[in-house]
Amino acid sequence: MKKIKYILFALLSLSLASCFKPVEFDPGEISPYPVLVSRPECDSTVKVYLSYSHFFLDDGHAYKLITDAAVTLDINGVSTQGVYVVDNDEAPLSHYFFNVRPAPGDTLNVTARIPGCETPVTAGTRIPQLADYEILDYIIDTTDIECCYFKIRFKVKSHSPIDYYSVKFFVSDSYDSHDTTGTLWSTDEAYFRQVFFSVNDPIVNSSDVSSVIDGDDGSFYDNEMVFTSELFSGGEHEFIAIFGKWMNSDERQRNISQLPVYMHIRALSQDLYRYNLTRELNSDSDGILSEPVQIYCNVNGGIGIFGASSLRKIHLTTPRFEHFNHGNTYYYYKK
């Protein structure tokens, strides 16, 4: 009988043993890759960041910068040597600087020769043409006393077989700032805040393309809309973007139509589009209930991204018309 008790006790102990345990994983031959990250923009100087990747189970701060590489940037066949600039405040922002300002249509190739690496790290991209757009309607709805809604109807025109875009909106906002001791320093510090917006669009809602833009239901809600003209087979397409903003007492007193609102339409190279898309898919992943995402990489001899873009910053024009309906004011801008 005693023996049975011992056996039962042993079985119970084993049954209750933790079902979680660490997996012993030997990184073995996994050696770090050189990483090149650079997003050249139209009419801006170029920065190239070089570092090494690290094994995923290593400390999160184990990134090693590459400070002694010879980096050249070739724009339409003309080479420039990069200068390493150390950022003393934030080390990872140290970069190779090129005092050149590429124009739309320029072809860029970067080459980094890293001591100790036999193969140079290379990548190429092309500065896309600035986005062709048109603002059709701009309405501010102040029906709600605490919140106003912005509705922007805009058109994007594509001139190539496939163009890639990113759209963001910014509104001015304010915050209370505190010093390091926590004492209130000032109130109403103005800044521009990137907003989340929704797009409810026949293209977005159609089952064929909805998953490319966003989730399963086809409606879009995020702070950046990345899309391709492939969705509307080139040509042009209208979107309606809507977002809201809580109004503070001061703003309610003021004429809300004067509130500065910016729209950023960024034309992307195909590389940058694919990189952004895979990054977004990765961050939206449902863990083990979704497939893993391979982040796009166009760097040879290493990993990272070298993707170009051309940005248009559009200050949305103050609505010119007012409309009263049941005691509420609507502000319109109409072409």
Binding site: C19, Y33, D59, P92, D216, E291, Q294
Partner: protein
């Protein structure tokens, strides 16, 4: 060749075959002497002429041999061989009953022409005796057909504890499960932990992994052909069984002696009943009101067989199996108002069929089958409120539901024609009408307050998709000589869906060469087409997995498979085999990067991409089926790859990558020891290479966004630790006044191996001189530790 020429050729072939010799036909039925159950696959062999046949799925045989002295031998695994000699001068009806063999059979040589034996032309197939399935030790004492199959070479399990099978590099949706000839869609209970087949209701299980005979089609990788019991035609018998999680009852007997029999089996889990007091108490503690919740599954098999004559039988069969999750919570707010919440989640199959077997002539046997299959997956949640306040009655009801499923209506006719012992011809046709309902979401709202009434009823979702599938087949199992035998045939199918028609002509060929009485080599080729896909999570089997048809965009899947092997019967005691195979698959589906398994049917075609795959390997099997010690040792070395490089549908940068269920090594050992009539025991041990998964092995920092970027170089680049496990089981039988009592003890995972179910990255933080840092580690989660269980059964 035009169709007229094909018809002419086949007609000439049939005429010439029947006119080959002046012979007589012996026909009859082979049955179990005790139960009267017909026996499938019995070898009937004339020792004088050297000709033999095998009984068909109805236990019928037809042997045409030259007139003169005949010495027939009826042999079948587990039964005593029967010899019968007589002079044959005209056609003869000979029904035979076989007696179960005693345990110490090791002195008796049995030469059953099983599909996997050296004598058969069929390769890549196995008949698994139900007694063997029942003797394999299992989890929670629940006999499981699919888990027993996972112990065979070439058949792999998905993840620990799941019933899904992966055959020769194919996915879990590439297996055709036939229950009495009718396809079954959902073969799992409890999300895959148990299979839907109740072993008490089963007579015969045959698994085909390749070299498919032409009468099978519709899936790429395997056919599991399950025949259920007809029922004892002599007297009422039954089996009651109570295990840790489920209870089973099986009853069989004659309804009208020697004419009509029945067999009915029912199984239900009772966790929900046992847990009910606890759930109600929990509801009271948490102030949830009256609470009733639980989960159970059940399956019901029923079959009635009526024999009009020895030549004519009518069989009606029914199967239904469902999983149900339910919750009901009711609140009472005094006497004036109450509120209730109902949640229901049901999924499962229902199959009903009516089959008529008729012997048209002594040489032609006909089967006519009509069947209806329904697979459904329904979720609903409803909230109801009643209120009485200030003499005003108000009522509100809100319900949301989600439904998906398939209904199939099948009609088929097939013929077995045996012009002489050298030819066994099968031909037939079938039509299948599929009604797919990929998903429907509905909302119902009803609100009444005084005289005001508001109703809202809407249904959103894809409309029903109708599809038609037709099949014609012809095959001949031809004994060219004692040495050479071939099985050749053709399966012609067509699938019409949404205005698109997909035709497919699928040739099948396999052959055998006898090198000696006990040694043969075989080779086979088969071409298979599949017209439907299952969209499922590859990690775990969810009830939300959807079956979807091919569409104008998603083309049918195709597979070419070649296999070759050597088969050796060692002194009648054991079968040894080695098979090599290579399978190429086209239009396989994989999810795109980042595709979520939620809300699958919404734009599902955009979430998948089509590509190709291939698998090759070698399988060894050593099997002993007679004697006190039986069992098998199976080993598979295999490699399974995928390539998705079509434009707009690339995965892994268009480079090949291992399939999710690619495993290099798979070993299983099963030993059963029947010590006496009172005691038997079994042990099994499995070892396999770990599953593959995808891990971002490298990370880098993107200074412009301030984020860490995970870098995955290849899909499925990480292999989990190997899987191994030992199970043991012992059975104590005791003869009682009215039957036999059996107490079964089993231990699953005897040495408590923590096998990985999933591996995940876990984030942690640690402090050092530089402050607080974050790092991650890789953790595995295991499902089943050591699980002892006990069950009690009484057979009368």
């Amino acid at each position: 060749m035009t169709s007229k020429k094909i018809v002419l050729f086949l007609s000439l072939l049939l005429i010439s075959l029947s006119a080959m010799s002046q012979s007589y036909t012996i026909r009859g039925t082979v049955r179990d002497s005790v139960s009267g159950e017909t026996l499938i696959g019995v070898t009937i062999y004339d020792m004088n002429s050297g000709k033999g046949v095998v009984s068909n799925t109805e236990g019928r045989y037809s042997l045409t041999i030259p007139s003169g002295d005949v010495m027939l031998r009826f042999s079948y695994v587990g039964y005593k061989t029967v010899l019968d000699s007589f002079a044959l001068h005209n056609n003869k009806e000979l029904n035979v009953s076989l007696h179960t063999a005693a345990v110490n059979l090791n002195t008796v040589t049995i030469r059953a022409d099983r599909v996997s034996s050296p004598q058969s032309s069929q390769m890549s197939a196995m008949v698994i005796p139900v007694e063997h399935i029942k003797s394999v030790p299992v989890m929670f004492g629940e006999t499981d057909v699919l888990k027993a199959l996972q112990l065979l070479p070439g058949v792999q399990s998905g993840t620990e504890g799941l019933s899904g099978i992966y055959v020769r590099g194919g996915g879990p949706d590439q297996n055709l499960f036939l229950l009495d000839g009718v396809p079954l869609y959902n073969v799992n209970h409890l999300g895959g932990f148990f299979s839907a087949f109740n072993a008490d209701a089963i007579k015969n299980v045959t698994l085909y992994k390749g070299s498919f005979p032409a009468h099978f089609g519709g899936r790429l990788s395997s056919v599991l052909d399950i025949t259920s019991n007809d029922g004892n035609n002599k007297q009422l018998h039954g089996n009651l069984s109570i295990g840790v999680i489920a209870a089973k009852v099986n009853l069989e007997g004659p309804l009208y002696k020697d004419k009509t029999t029945f067999n009915i089996s029912f199984r239900r889990t009772y966790f929900d009943i046992l847990m009910q007091p606890m759930i109600m108490a929990l509801g009271t503690m948490e102030d949830l009101g009256r609470t009733n919740a639980g989960y159970f599954f059940y399956d019901l098999n029923a079959k009635v067989t009526h024999r009009f004559s020895d030549r004519s039988r009518l069989i009606a069969s029914w199967y239904s199996g469902d999983d149900k999750i339910y919750a009901r919570v009711k609140y009472n707010y005094g006497y004036t108002s109450d509120e209730s919440l109902k949640l229901g989640y049901n999924w499962g199959n229902m199959v009903t069929s009516l089959r008529w077997n008729y012997e048209l002539t002594p040489k032609i046997f006909m089967n006519v089958t009509g069947a209806f299959t329904r697979y459904r997956n329904d979720v609903s949640i409803a909230i109801e409120e009643n209120d009485f306040y200030d003499d005003v009655v108000s009522y509100s009801f809100m319900e949301m539901y989600y439904k998906s499923g398939i209904r199939d209506i099948t009609g088929k006719v097939d013929f077995d024609y045996q012009p002489n012992p050298d030819h066994m011809i099968k031909f037939g046709a079938s039509t299948l009408h599929h009604i797919f309902q990929p998903d429907v979401t509905g909302n119902k709202i009803e609100a009444i307050e005084g005289d005001d009434r508001y109703t809202y009823d809407t249904v959103i979702g894809q409309s029903v998709v109708h599809a038609n599938e037709i099949t014609l087949f012809f095959e001949d199992d031809w004994s060219i000589s004692e040495t050479f035998k071939i099985n050749g045939g053709i399966n012609v199918t067509g699938f019409a869906v949404q205005g698109t028609f997909y035709p497919s002509v699928q040739p099948r060929l396999s052959g055998r060469v006898m090198l000696s009485d006990d040694l043969s080599i075989k080779a086979g080729y088969s071409y298979m087409t599949q017209y439907m896909h299952q969209l499922s999570n590859s990690t775990i089997s969810l009830p939300t997995d959807l079956w979807v048809p091919v569409t104008a965009r998603i083309e049918p899947m195709y597979a070419h498979q070649v296999a070759a092997g050597a088969f050796y019967n060692f002194k009648g005691l054991a079968d040894l085999s080695m098979e090599l195979y290579y399978k190429k698959m086209q239009n396989m589906l994989e999810y795109r990067d980042g595709a979520s398994f939620f809300a699958m049917s919404s734009g599902w075609e955009d979430k998948v991409c089509m590509g190709d795959g291939w698998s090759y390997g070698v399988e060894f099997l050593a099997q002993r089926t007679i004697g006190k010690v039986t069992g098998w040792l199976g080993y598979t070395w295999s490699k399974t790859m995928r390539l998705f490089d079509r434009e707009g549908q690339t995965l892994n940068n268009g480079e090949p990558f291992p399939a999710k269920y690619d495993r290099r090594h798979d070993l299983s050992i099963v030993i059963n020891y029947k010590y006496s009539k009172e005691f038997d025991c079994s042990v099994s041990w499995v070892f396999s290479s770990g599953n593959v998964g995808t891990l971002a092995m490298q990370e880098y920092y993107d200074p412009e966004t301030g984020q860490t970027v995970p870098y995955i170089e290849n899909r499925n680049n990480f292999r989990m630790p190997p899987y191994h496990r030992m199970d043991i089981g012992v059975n104590f039988h005791k003869e009682k006044k009215h039957g036999v009592r059996t107490i079964s003890l089993s231990v699953y995972n005897v040495y408590n191996r923590q096998n990985p179910f999933i591996v995940m990255e876990v984030y942690g933080r640690h402090s050092n001189v530089n402050g607080v840092n974050y790092n991650s580690s890789l953790m595995q989660m295991s499902l089943f530790p050591i699980i002892p269980s006990v069950s009690y059964s009484f057979k009368f």
